[in-house]
Amino acid sequence: MTLESYLLVGAALFSLGLIGALSHRNLIAVLIGIELMMNAASLNLMAFNRFVVTDPTTGQIFVLIIIGLAAAEVAIFLSIILRIYRAYHDIDAEKLTKLSG
């Protein structure tokens, strides 16, 4: 596969993640969409790393950092979801309207 095809797969994955993040009302589903988008970014970095960059460690380290950040992000996101669930007994993004005046 060429660089372009990898990038296209990445873009497609990102679009799928976007659909997931935009169309769902369940916060966990939104989180899953966001994860897909981050992974699309990782795929792009790895592809560039393989085909474009002369120092082969750079892209891999970026991906490792993305994975680490994703872990941190998920931890925070999930704890927020749990907290929201305790407060509202629901995790529907459209029902969290307490602050909307």
């Binding site: 990898y6 380290i61 950040l69």
Partner: protein, 170 residues
């Protein structure tokens, strides 16, 4: 030939899993889709020449993050409620966004001229040792920052998710 087939299988994994994650109403299917997609992605990483990153992807994303999402799902109501009825307008908007985005990016990719290197770097540079060395020398500030971020995330997650103290309830 066979190798190409394997790669396309992985790509199919990525896209089918992603589709499952994006379109399924059942949250559990979405999680399974995420898992499949991540597995395919790990395969692609393997193919792009980094077994280590692929293993890390599996270890942290599938073994850690997916399981954590499953756990959050079990602890929240998502498990027992009936999935909400699909909102056609919302889905339409999302698909429109995605299509526009994908179209734009695809167009850009087709038009772009990448300065590709002739051959992939030597086998040694892909090794775990080289990665570790780079992490601890050239990228050590990033590495340290990331570890701090993770520590803070753990503390923050515990603080946010723990049971509310009695006085907070009042």
């Amino acid at each position: 030939m066979l190798e190409q087939a394997v790669i396309y299988t992985f790509v199919a994994f990525v896209l089918i899993g992603g589709g499952l994650a994006a379109f399924s109403r059942q949250i559990l299917y979405a999680i399974i889709g995420l898992g499949i997609s991540l597995l395919g992605l790990a395969g692609l990483f393997l193919n792009l020449g980094s077994p280590f990153v692929a293993a890390m992807q599996v270890l942290i994303y599938i073994g850690g993050i997916t399981v954590a999402i499953v756990f959050a799902m079990m602890l929240s109501i998502a498990m027992s409620i009936r999935p909400p009825d699909p909102d056609a307008r919302k889905l339409g908007f999302a698909i429109a966004c995605a299509v526009i985005f994908f179209g734009a990016v695809a167009h850009l990719i087709r038009g772009a001229q990448f300065q590709q290197i002739a051959s992939p770097a030597s086998e040694k540079a892909w090794s775990v040792g080289a990665l570790g060395h780079a992490l601890l020398t050239h990228y050590n500030v990033v590495f340290e920052t990331l570890s701090l971020v993770l520590l803070l995330a753990i503390i923050g997650a515990i603080l946010i998710a723990r049971k509310a103290l009695p006085k907070e309830n009042s």
